[in-house]
Symmetry: C2
Subunit: 329 residues, 2 copies
């Protein structure tokens, strides 16, 4: 298996991306092609590998798409950017998948423009695995598209169900629609129309409406929503988790708990907590619905998270979910 | 000041509602009319007051609107329900405000059907105060209406700004639009159109787009969104906070921290944390944009939270925000 990794994408690129790749090839049976500035990458790679041979090669790409750029315009104009070159390698069957921690918008635009959508899919969707006390809840779409129509949400339901079953290994995964109440009659026009369509769908295990609180509780295996709502919810959760940690530290310091626990134990508790809450510990989020395997990682990913995302990418390719989606539509 | 309190609305009604009312009249300069089943209320009230005289009276209402009922239908059909009777008392100028912890949908429907909307307001909005480390962030709409149009979001911005300034006492409050990115070009059609309109508005301090993570961080004083997104975000936050507490307890138990801290200190820490995160500690959420003061409290409210919501209701009435909104439009 060959994976094209956008070595220039992410807050800590290229150093952490390269470190993550080196970790991954020792853990997973895959070959990695690091795409980006050859000189920078080879320097980092040499420093990291110390002459040892790993199944890692470099593909030069002279440009980088920055976070602030308009995704589609940047993909069209920067033909030699790392994400465009990496995505083209999938299109040309040089690689089985592409992974990027760079601009999500650019990765989605590159996939849509270069790989194109699977026939029958109106909009691709990013499926983000959210850790919960009961396991993973897959939320999609978490930001690939806004202004989704009911049929796009149905397609997300089908794709999410296949991913949950074959990659996350959840048997007969429950699929719910994110809404403002449990009853069928609740919600905006989009939600009400989508509910009707999901209810008649025989190929998934539709479990009704999910309310916001059902996501962190892990009540359903797959939760479907449009990309605007999904993105807002995920970022809100990120911010809230950080705020709670901050308040908790203040409380423990104020009431003397911090002294009793000691710095080490507090640090350990918080580290473990963060691990259990941190999406990136569960690796990358696949962009489902495009003609090829494309996985997106959080912009702040460090080496360990990149390694984990490469593991997710391997599972995704091996699961044949991409072909299963093609056949389901 | 006279406040009509829906004594039958809420998970812990009527007992906790009545206890809350008794607390409130001792704390705030107001008179309370408890609306609902006279027999039940008078029994509870006597048990609570033990013969002492408080400025609390009872108005009988024979029906109750339950949580599962269709709000508008229930309001139309149950003319003698506690929320309908309480709302009518505001309409008839018998009371200055109505407070309910019952079905939010029913309270909103009663307000819209009985009090009607303020001239110039297309949709009313529930403004929920969210506690953050930097103070309160007012999120609106948090569920009164779905499928809002840009002009409704603009009106929410104006109403939220007035409420933040005159009730929350925030000088020149910053107003942001909830979106999936900071840039003006980001978001769905609704958000992009709303941004354009907010930018040209001279009467509020528009601060651009807010991302989901900016809400718990308290980056802005007022955050505007449609009721679908607001409701999902609030419920997600509620669920996530509980999940984090649960995981944290597990972590502390597993690593021996719980033993060091002791049950009492853990309980105290969590209680204080919850207080700082709990929306209900900050009292009720006003329904802005209807012809009268209507405040909504969380369904799970206990006596302390009802008391706090009555305090919010007093502040709201005293601030003249209701008249300020009328004049601003």
């Amino acid at each position: 298996m060959k994976i094209a990794v956008d070595a220039m994408g992410g807050d800590k690129a290229p150093a952490e991306i390269i470190k993550g790749a080196v970790l991954a090839v020792q853990k997973y049976p895959c070959e990695i092609i690091l795409v980006g500035d050859e000189k920078k990458i080879s320097e980092e790679l040499e420093a990291e590998t110390c002459g040892k041979i790993f199944p890692i090669t470099i593909r030069h790409a002279s440009e980088v798409i920055e976070m602030g750029e308009h995704p589609a315009d940047a993909v069209r104009n920067k033909k030699d950017s790392s994400i465009v070159v990496a995505t083209k390698m999938v299109k040309d069957s040089e690689c089985d998948a592409v992974l990027s921690a760079g601009s999500t918008g650019a990765a989605v635009a590159a996939a849509q423009l270069i790989l194109k959508r699977i026939h029958g899919i109106g909009r691709p969707a990013i499926a983000t695995p959210i850790p919960t006390p009961r396991g993973i809840t897959l939320l999609l779409d978490s930001g690939a598209n806004v202004d989704s129509k009911p049929e796009h949400l149905i397609q997300s339901g089908i794709m999410g169900s296949l991913y949950a079953e074959h990659v996350l290994k959840i048997k007969n995964p429950s699929v719910a629609l994110l809404n403002i109440g449990e009853e069928e009659t609740k919600g905006n026009e989009q939600a009400k129309e989508t509910y009707k369509l999901l209810k008649t769908l025989q190929t998934i295990n539709f479990a009704g409406n999910a309310e916001g609180r059902d996501i962190p509780r892990g009540k359903f295996d797959v939760v479907v929503c449009d990309g605007f709502v999904g993105n807002v919810v995920l970022k809100f959760g990120e911010g809230l988790a950080l705020t709670i940690m901050q308040l908790l530290t203040e409380e423990l310091t104020a009431n003397g708990g911090a002294k009793l626990l000691g710095r080490k134990l507090i640090a350990e508790t918080f580290r473990n907590m963060s691990k259990r809450l941190d999406v990136s510990e569960n690796g990358g989020a696949p962009l489902l619905g495009v003609n090829g395997c494309c996985v997106i990682s959080h912009g702040s990913s460090n080496a360990k998270e990149i390694c984990s995302a490469i593991g997710v990418t391997c599972d995704y390719v091996n699961s044949n979910v991409f072909y299963r989606i093609k056949n389901a539509l």
